[in-house]
Amino acid sequence: METLPYVRAKDRRRPDGPLDLSGITGTWRNTNPNTSGLVKVILSHYEDGLAVQAFGACEPEPCEWGEADEVVACAAGPASRQPMGFTAQYHFGFMKTRLEANLSRGLLIIAGFHTFLDDSGRSDYFTREFFRFQQPTPTE
């Protein structure tokens, strides 16, 4: 029997099928209508996995961030098929942002790690925002 490498007990298991993304795909809107951070996030299921599109609070319209890079859909455990969240990266040139999201009690909690790469003097900062599910995306 194959031995799985691990550094903590819970990693000694594997799932019996792929991750089922239907429970997480759709439009998630910030519960704070006056946010100065992320307005909404659209999660889509493609053949290669999960796609993430984020929209930042800008005027007069939200700033469309486009599709994120290096998206990893996460399960509830190493042996689980239930989606639990994702990680994603954005590279804007002057700044990079890593998003780490998890589901909790019907909300999608998105943590943002924002690192400035310019000489603007701004601090690298952390955000944590809450999103509610709005509508499912059409099946392609």
């Binding site: 996460c74 900062y125 952390f126």
Partner: protein, 147 residues
């Protein structure tokens, strides 16, 4: 006039509100030895957050038998409350074990260290990338409870 780039309103900081460049984000608020509140965890048993030559570090210990697995010491990165602040809000660290990569995000809340953990496997074992969240109390509080 210099243009300040932004992707959301949070990124916009008036020049007069920029933080003092000589002041660094202080991780001391999170420094210490933190013990998992779940004595039977199969995840992370303990986390030690320290400062080494001004650089924040993390040392995590996974639940293994007969002793916890020492994950070693890695450098961490501190993030502030916002773009104009030097107040530490959260700490981020990444472990790369070769077969697996784990990122830790830690912040303090009401005396508890909350650690969000994202793990992905790189060994083709079929294990799913997954999210976990665990809670830790500071070790010195356990000692004072016993006195």
């Amino acid at each position: 006039m210099e243009t300040v780039h932004y992707t959301k309103a949070d990124d916009q900081v008036d020049p007069g509100d920029l933080p003092d460049a000589d002041v660094f984000i202080d991780p001391a608020v999170l420094a210490g030895t933190w013990i998992n509140t779940n004595r039977h965890t199969e995840g992370i048993v303990k986390v030690v957050i320290a400062l080494e030559n001004g650089v924040p570090t993390v040392q995590a210990f996974g639940a293994c038998e007969p002793e916890p697995c020492d994950w070693g010491v890695v450098q961490a990165k501190m993030f502030a409350e916002n773009a104009s602040s030097r107040t530490a809000k959260t700490l981020s660290a990444v472990y790369d074990f070769g077969f697996m990569e784990t990122s830790l995000q830690a912040f303090g809340k009401l005396g508890v260290l909350v650690v969000a953990i994202f793990t992905r496997f790189k060994d083709g074992s079929g294990r799913a990338p997954y999210f976990d969240r665990e809670f830790f109390y500071e070790a010195h509080t356990a000692a004072s409870d016993a006195s």
